[in-house]
Subunit: 317 residues, 2 copies
């Protein structure tokens, strides 16, 4: 297992900068009053492909040798990594195949096709996804870019909090959502090097609390097919992300489904931005744990904005 | 009838700058490809109180003498001017009363109360609104700040396109939604002075096309209670806004209800911003009139972001 270093992050930052946005950081006096903290929202919903994952995917795709690149890339993903990889491969002009649960959001499938990617569908469980994917890779010889358990991907995601710190200066804490742990691992990798005093909190849906239980138990616990509105956060930790989460995360905080939806709606209403349920988990946990963050300067990672507009979680479908 | 001058605009800009945001201008490669034009979205949905109208309201409120200010201000409004005036009066610490149709969006009523304003309800028609309001003013002695037919308000709204030009440089055209004509009049007042070569287009719902018919007929035609999803654009032109619209507007372009809703949904999905139906009318008309705007640098005024999240126009309620 190769563990990426801060040199890999600096290299990633140079490599991907032509293909990604330097996303804005928004503040809101309403949210500051409500939370009692000073919040800095890093808006990766405005990122290319609508999500931070384009950072890691671009780092993997543009780091490939010419020889490897011609065979293309492949991945499995609940959606956002898929379209990020499709975006990056499209920019480089190489083939990309993604294995995706047939229940994935239509908006995400459409975006993968829009970038020129191919989709192979599987059942909405971790086991089915991994089985189907093994077949695809065996047939195509494509380079496997894992959604999160890949040093190239983690180095790419790390550029997000590096950028955040360049934009707003010192922070007391950063709160990022956790599913497989790619964003959180990147945050750990960047901050443990440039701002070791900044505490890193992972925010997780109570309905998919495998990272929380892993963190408390001291080893990886994986669930198959948890059910949560935060559909980007259903996947389990793997060895590489477990390495970062177990060494650098201060705590993992949980939020209920209702708390996540309420936080999402509040951000849409008050900050006038479109972001996905996964991105609302950090604010939901901050509002639940006010004492932890009171008076602190806190970075909040808004991870993405890819939402099915016909299925908003506070509306009847 | 006092017709505001460019000096009034410069004075307004100085007067209101401590109380308003310099809002960002967003661009979208997707929208540019779709339209064939280069679009610059001036995002007043990120403005204080969620709407450009806070510019005009702040100019009126902070321009009052101490003597007048203590009696407070009052207005009638379909919503956004109401909460803008409530915001401005709140910042100055003076009383504010608004007459509002009982059908106004709950989100807008709540925001008026949130800023400390009082509401008197009326029927959802222009005539009922004006009758109810006359009573309120007679009783309170408050200063009447009309939603749009007021030189102080128009001078304030004019700061929006002035700011847009400072941010992006020369434009071939600016497209703004038209209801009563306050934003369009402000745009005319600013651009006819600093960029007379920039063409000004007003965008109007076909279901509330009184400005369009007025423009073609050469005199004001007013409808009572038109029905459109763009609830901020139901009010008719008045003498002062008619002055600007009839002298400086290049054309008034119409969009159907479906075209407005489609444009709104597209902006939410692709640009990841929350904005209201009225703000989608400009893009809807641009996409309908591609030849007019092809290859041009076009400013698009996103007027506001105050939406009832429980009643999105593309969802069943």
């Amino acid at each position: 297992m190769y563990i990426p270093t801060f040199d890999d992050v600096k290299e990633a930052q140079k490599r991907i900068s032509p293909y990604i946005h330097k996303t804005p950081v928004l503040t809101s006096s309403f949210m500051n009053e409500l939370s009692g903290a000073e919040l800095f929202f890093k808006c990766e919903n405005f990122q290319k492909a609508g999500v931070f994952k384009v950072r890691g995917a671009s780092n993997a795709v543009f780091g490939l040798s010419e020889e490897k690149a011609v065979k293309g890339v492949a991945t499995h993903s609940s959606g956002n990594h898929a379209l990020s990889l499709a975006y990056a491969a499209g920019r480089r002009g190489i083939p990309v195949t993604v294995v995706m649960p047939h229940t994935a959001l239509e908006a995400k499938k459409a975006a993968v096709y829009g970038y020129g990617g191919s989709i192979v569908e599987c059942e909405p469980s971790t086991s089915s996804r991994e089985e189907t994917f093994a077949k695809v890779v065996a047939e195509s010889g494509a380079d496997f870019v894992h959604p999160y358990n890949d040093p190239r991907v983690i180095s790419g995601q790390a550029t997000c909090s590096l950028e955040l710190l360049e934009q707003v200066g010192k922070l007391d804490a950063v709160v990022a959502p956790i599913g497989g742990g790619g964003m959180v691992s990147g945050t750990c990798l960047a901050l443990s090097n440039v701002a070791p005093e900044t505490k890193i909190y992972a925010a997780e849906p109570k309905n998919a609390d495998d990272a929380f239980r892993s963190f408390k138990a001291g080893h990886i616990i994986a669930d198959d097919a948890p059910v949560t509105v935060a559909d980007g956060l259903k996947v389990p930790l793997k060895d590489l992300t477990w390495h970062f989460v177990s060494s650098h995360v201060e705590d993992i905080l949980l939020a209920s489904e209702q708390e996540i939806v309420d936080a999402m709606k509040l951000i849409w209403q008050r900050m006038k931005i479109v972001m996905e349920p996964s991105s609302a988990v950090p604010l939901a946990t901050i509002l639940k744990n006010k004492n932890t963050f009171a008076g602190k300067r806190v970075g909040v990672i808004i991870t993405g904005g890819n939402v099915d507009m016909n299925k908003l979680p506070w509306m009847k479908s």
